[in-house]
Amino acid sequence: MDKIPILRMGRFLLVTIQVDLYDRLALTLEADLIQAVQKHNARGVLIDISAVSIVDSFMGRIIGNIASMSKILDAETVVVGMQPAVAITLIELGLPLKGVHTALDMEKGMDLLRSMMDTTDNDEDEDAIADDFITE
């Protein structure tokens, strides 16, 4: 079965969704991601959806769930790269994705996460940034 890879970058988790999610894949992602947040004690989750052309209410709910669940585990979620057509559709559908932070691209999303970290804590010492691939 397909799986969406979750990358770790320091204390952030990076997910790039390259395919149109079908329901089971989305549910697997939700579960995997929350596991990874806990396992790596992540402080931020970046989800890149720039390649996603359709987000319906189910997908929107999954994104909202990921944000709320991560929040409970003390990690902020930033969704980056949403297509204009997707944004318009989500608003008309009635899903403004409250509680989810958004940014234009990966870089700005990363900046946003860092600035949120700055305001919440200055004492924690970050290790050198290391990319690594998590396989479960």
Partner: protein
Amino acid sequence: MILSLSKDTVTVAQEQDVVFLKNRVKEVAVRIKMGLVNQTRLITAASELVRNMMRYANGGKCLIEVVSSGRNNGVRLTFSDSGPGIPDITAAMRDGFSTGKSLGLGLPGTKRLVNEFDIKSKVGEGTIVTIIKWANG
């Protein structure tokens, strides 16, 4: 008056069919030169309705038509299932109403995405939802 220019039926029984259906709808929308945002609205609406069909009726059929009202071309989708039906359509069309475990945005949200929306349901017989999205509307 709305004329039907082409017809195609897709049967939806499992998750793979959903992807196939969305692709078919997209092809048709592209063929009549529907703009990207309207395409997205249409496919999202189709996605909502097909999900309802899977969840409440274990699948059904979708008729994909290219329709014309003279100057404007559009796509008409007719989703029909033989599921349990909806007892109270007025309630189902309200934001936030859901009998399943969802946000309850499905039907009213879908209605906002398309130009025409019609729902007929009989308890014990099934539900038919018809939507039309015009290429520029």
